[in-house]
Amino acid sequence: MASRLWASKAASYLKISTFNRGFASVVKDLKYAESHEWVKVDGKSCTIGITDHAQDHLGDVVYVELPEVGAAVTQGSSFGAVESVKATSDINSPVSGKVVEVNEELTGEPGLVNGSPYENGWIIKVEISDANEVNNLMDSEQYSKFCEEEDKH
């Protein structure tokens, strides 16, 4: 990850056009949304973040707008945002439910989303209201293919 980051920064300094990394990492047991969020389901609870593909395409995250604990989230709808480069980008929830915890570390260290998108860069934890919704999401293999197709354009 570090050498890829260096190469990308060097290319940027030299103003060389780069293609994004060929294959962003995916984690096998997670589920994935087309808007590039992942969810780790654990019974009635889950943890949500953005994928390695997303953080790579967004660039260095400098700010994360977190929801309030207790807020309702709906599958496919925005619950927060990340700021990177000059953009705010919506983060959409892969499931419906209620926010039970937010990752406060991201306030002081938003770069965790880039450096550790599937672990320390988690964004919210949710109490799921409809477990069946997880069936609408992609597994790791489907998501990898989805990303490959998207990056062809």
Partner: protein, 251 residues
């Protein structure tokens, strides 16, 4: 002004002049979030000086708060990312709101959108000036004349720009040199870093050429700005109390 070209996606063009920047931002966010059309919004100058920070902007870091409070300069935190600008009647605003499916060759991420915008504006300045996209700014040579910001939702995005057609030197002193500055700035203060567009072309020429450049991507139709929209915008004017609290933080 409806000049339909078969096959190009439709874009509605709103032309305004002297509209307050907070109102412009509210219109933009409403259209981004509640419309399914493509839009180009042009505001030829805003009615009075305003400081506009990005979504995560902290006034204690970005603004000389004491003179701003004394001189009653409004400070706004907008819904898009990016840095801090001071805008007035010499600023020309151009905003593009697009469905990602209307520009399918542009991945809905910050850098591809930024590149797409620079191709559009390179048509505007072709033969007029040494225009480049430098990091995330529009420059003539090494001097910035246009600042960009974006907001990206699931299926749509906005890319908006404040162009320095002209500016008042005195107003730049309300802004601090930001901690997060582009590398090419090289610690220059504002007046050594920016340049006015007026040395290169007139306001009306710039607006006409921008519309012409947009026409190569979209079929354009004139439109009025929306009114009475049922939407709660997130751009907000900071209160005096908030600025005073930020001033305490700097001490």
């Amino acid at each position: 002004m409806a000049t339909r070209k078969v096959g190009l996606p439709l874009m509605n063009v709103i032309s305004m002049k002297g509209v307050p920047i907070l109102q412009q931002l509210e219109i933009e966010e409403c259209l981004l979030r509640t419309s399914s059309d493509n839009w180009c919004i042009i505001n030829d100058g805003t009615n009075k000086p305003n400081i506009v920070m990005g979504i995560s902007g902290k006034p204690s870091e970005l603004v000389e708060i004491k003179p701003v409070i004394e001189d009653k300069i409004p400070v706004i935190r907008r819904f898009t990312g990016g840095g801090t600008v001071i805008v007035d009647d010499g600023t020309i605003f151009v905003s593009f709101i697009c469905n990602k499916d209307s520009v399918p060759d542009v991945q809905p991420y910050p850098r591809p959108i930024m590149s797409w915008s620079s191709l559009l504006y390179s048509k505007v300045f072709h033969g007029i000036a040494d225009f480049k996209l430098r990091e995330n700014d529009y420059v003539f040579g090494v001097r910035k004349f246009g600042g960009n910001a974006q907001s990206i939702t699931k299926n749509r995005w906005i890319h908006h720009t404040s162009f320095l057609w002209d500016y008042k030197t005195r107003n730049m002193s309300y802004l601090k040199v930001p901690k997060r500055a582009p590398d090419y700035r090289l610690a220059r203060d504002h007046l050594d870093f920016i340049c006015p567009m007026k040395d290169y072309l007139s306001r009306s020429d710039f607006i006409d050429k921008t519309i012409e450049a947009a026409r190569s991507h979209f079929s354009l139709a004139s439109s009025d700005p929306p009114s009475n929209f049922e939407f709660t915008p997130t751009s907000k004017l900071l209160t005096k109390q908030e600025l005073e609290a930020a001033l305490i933080k700097t001490h």
